[in-house]
């Protein structure tokens, strides 16, 4: 399986602020990867580094066999949809279709007309006058019309109502059905992306916490509950992602290294959401307790 996206200790600093640090990920071809993490975790930064819109401060980034480069061949193979859905507001979808035809070698205008026609989105209206959901659909259709090999989407679901979200995810699933297209999609909405994605990249504190197929992420993690007790023993074999203790009970999210032998623990499977939240709140705890000092991150998702 060839990796379409590979980074090695990738880092991005903006003046004094570290937006992304020590990021090593690997996304094989055909995966639909969910890029999740709290605000300011470096999701946007990572996507911008993958497109070549930003240049790394350190480390290496490799997309489709080389670092992102200012070459028409590379640019034609990467589709990017930025969070703010940037389109020329005064121009219509039709104008954007012609625009794409002039700027891209493998342009597929028919696909845009079909997709937008099916969604009843006007081709002649200035895109600035469309609703946020419609605008996202126009932008996605335009991005897909490039027929990219890698599709990078930054929070495309954030502005959408549930219905528009479903339509959007439907469009994505259809585009990915060939198995050729590799997608990385950043989002907060774990429930939504769980239906679509088969791969997970979890960023927190500007660092990669997880990067794996969702199946194996689920297989590797367990929720343990038991009487309040010392967790040192369990921590010796397994990795405790997060622990909560009340007066009587301790519950742990654990990354397994083999089976849990101690019968005092009740072992349950964890949902993706529980795992993701576990890693994210672990991060919060560390921050609030001040146990581990990590590089600060900037807000706003740059």
């Amino acid at each position: 399986m060839t990796a379409v996206i590979e980074t090695d200790r990738l880092a991005k600093r903006y003046r004094r602020v570290i937006a992304l640090n020590d990021c090593t990920i690997n996304v094989p071809q055909g995966r639909i990867s969910a890029l999740v993490g709290p605000n300011g975790a470096g999701k946007t930064t990572l996507l911008r580094l993958l497109t070549g819109l930003a240049a790394p401060s350190a480390g290496e980034v490799d997309v489709l066999g080389g670092p992102p480069r200012q070459e028409p061949e590379f640019l034609s193979e990467v589709g990017f949809l930025a969070q703010e859905i940037p389109l020329y507001r005064a121009l219509s979808a039709k104008d954007h279709i012609s625009l794409g035809a002039h700027l891209n070698p493998r342009w597929d205008p028919e696909s845009v007309r079909e997709r937008l026609g099916a969604l009843n989105i006007s081709l002649d209206q200035a895109v600035g006058t469309l609703s946020a959901g419609q605008r996202s659909q126009v932008a996605l259709a335009l991005t897909l019309a490039k027929r990219p090999k890698v599709l990078l989407l930054d929070e495309p679901l954030a502005a959408l109502d549930p219905l528009a979200r479903r339509a959007f995810l439907g469009t994505l699933a259809e585009a990915a059905s060939g198995g050729e297209l590799t997608i990385v999609l950043s989002s907060h909405l774990i429930a939504d992306i769980e239906q679509l994605c088969d791969h997970l990249i979890l960023l927190a504190s500007a660092q990669v916490q997880l990067c794996d197929d969702i199946e194996s992420v689920l297989a590797q993690h367990r929720l343990l509950t038991g009487r309040r007790k010392d967790t040192t023993a369990i921590g010796r074999t397994h990795v405790i992602v997060r622990g909560d203790s009340t007066e009587r009970q301790t519950s742990l999210l654990v990354r397994l290294n083999g089976p849990v032998i101690d019968p005092a623990w009740v072992v349950e499977e964890a949902t993706l959401e529980e795992i993701v939240l576990g890693y994210m709140s672990k991060d919060n705890d560390e921050h609030s307790a001040g146990i581990v000092s990590r590089p600060s991150t900037i807000g706003g998702g740059r």
């Binding site: 819109l53 070459e71 028409p72 589709g79 930025a82 940037p86 389109l87 020329y88 104008d95 700027l103």
Partner: protein
């Protein structure tokens, strides 16, 4: 990319063309009128009816039109202000650069094509207005030999094209550097006015070594035809020019002769004591050299600004 550029500026181009058409109609009507007045005055003089002088008080056009012509000084600035400053800045503000720069064209091509068309648009706009104004100025130039006056030199022939290209480059540069349209607009305006004023008021006088003429103080000296006066004053007895008016109590540190009352009219008195007047100026036959030098200066600044802009654009994260 060219189609893209055209699509983005289509409406604004139509507006600019409309404004130009209005200006053209006004200037053509006024210019034809001025030419008619001029030719009838010439005919009158040919019959000896004007006493050998056409008369500088001949009214060729009304003052509103003359003011309008002087106001075309601002024309070369406008494309740079409204198209140049937002070219990169507005894309960054709205995030559309992320759309444009992730299509299958390099940033280099995006910049070159878009800048190229905007420079051409600026040159054509300024060139067309300048051509109109140059034509319109024909009679007035023949009458007053004023081609070197700041209000006239700056709006005729080729310098407006140089100014327009400079303004466009400055606008694009400021927009790229500041990433905001409005501050970029302000910087473009201030930079254009500042540099233009510096060149017109000071630098232009020194493109070539001026011609030096000394003359009897009791007579007056005016160079023939168009000229750009650089300095004028009294030549001291040591032969050194004193850039001064005539009413100083001393000339080059030497007190003026007793009896040449500085508050009266001392010229005849000074002349009697051997003082002469002098003038340095740029003569009429240097007009095209000066137009060429000034255009070249602004084109060179523009090239420098665009070079820096491209370097910033390539280096900086989008």
């Amino acid at each position: 990319m060219s189609w893209f550029t055209w699509r983005l500026y289509r409406n604004q181009s139509a507006l600019a063309t409309g404004l130009f058409a209005v200006l053209a109609i006004v200037l053509v009507i006024s210019g034809l009128h001025a030419a008619a007045v001029w030719h009838s005055a010439l005919a009158r003089c040919a019959k000896g009816a004007c006493g050998g002088q056409i008369g500088s008080n001949l009214s060729l056009s009304n003052s509103a039109i003359s003011t309008l012509v002087v106001a075309t000084t601002a024309v070369p600035l406008l494309p740079g202000l409204f198209w140049g400053a937002p070219m990169v800045a507005h894309e960054l503000e709205t995030g559309t650069n992320q759309f444009a720069w992730t299509q299958s064209i390099t940033r280099r091509r995006w910049f070159l094509v878009r800048t190229g068309w905007l420079l051409l648009a600026a040159a054509v706009t300024a060139g067309a207005v300048s051509a109109l104004v140059t034509w319109w100025s024909g009679p007035s130039h023949a009458l007053q030999s004023n081609a070197f006056l700041a209000n006239r030199f700056d709006v005729i022939d080729i310098v407006p094209v140089g100014y327009a290209i400079f303004a466009m480059a400055l606008g694009i540069f400021a927009g790229t550097l500041l990433r905001r349209s409005v501050p970029a607009l302000a910087v473009t305006l201030a930079g254009f006015v500042g540099i233009r004023a510096f060149v017109a008021q000071w630098l232009r006088l020194h493109y070539m070594t001026p011609i030096f003429v000394s003359y009897k103080l009791t007579s007056n000296f005016t160079p023939p035809g168009d000229y750009l006066g650089v300095s004028q004053g009294i030549l001291g007895l040591n032969g050194k020019p004193a850039v001064s008016n005539y009413n100083l109590p001393s000339i080059n540190g030497v007190p003026i002769p007793a009896g040449c009352n500085p508050n009266g009219n001392p010229l005849a008195c000074l002349a009697a004591h051997g003082y002469r007047g002098y003038m340095t100026y740029q003569p009429a036959d240097r007009f095209w050299a000066f137009q060429g030098i000034e255009t070249a200066i602004f084109l060179a600044i523009a090239a420098g600004l665009l070079g820096i802009t491209f370097w910033i654009l390539k280096r900086r994260d989008a």
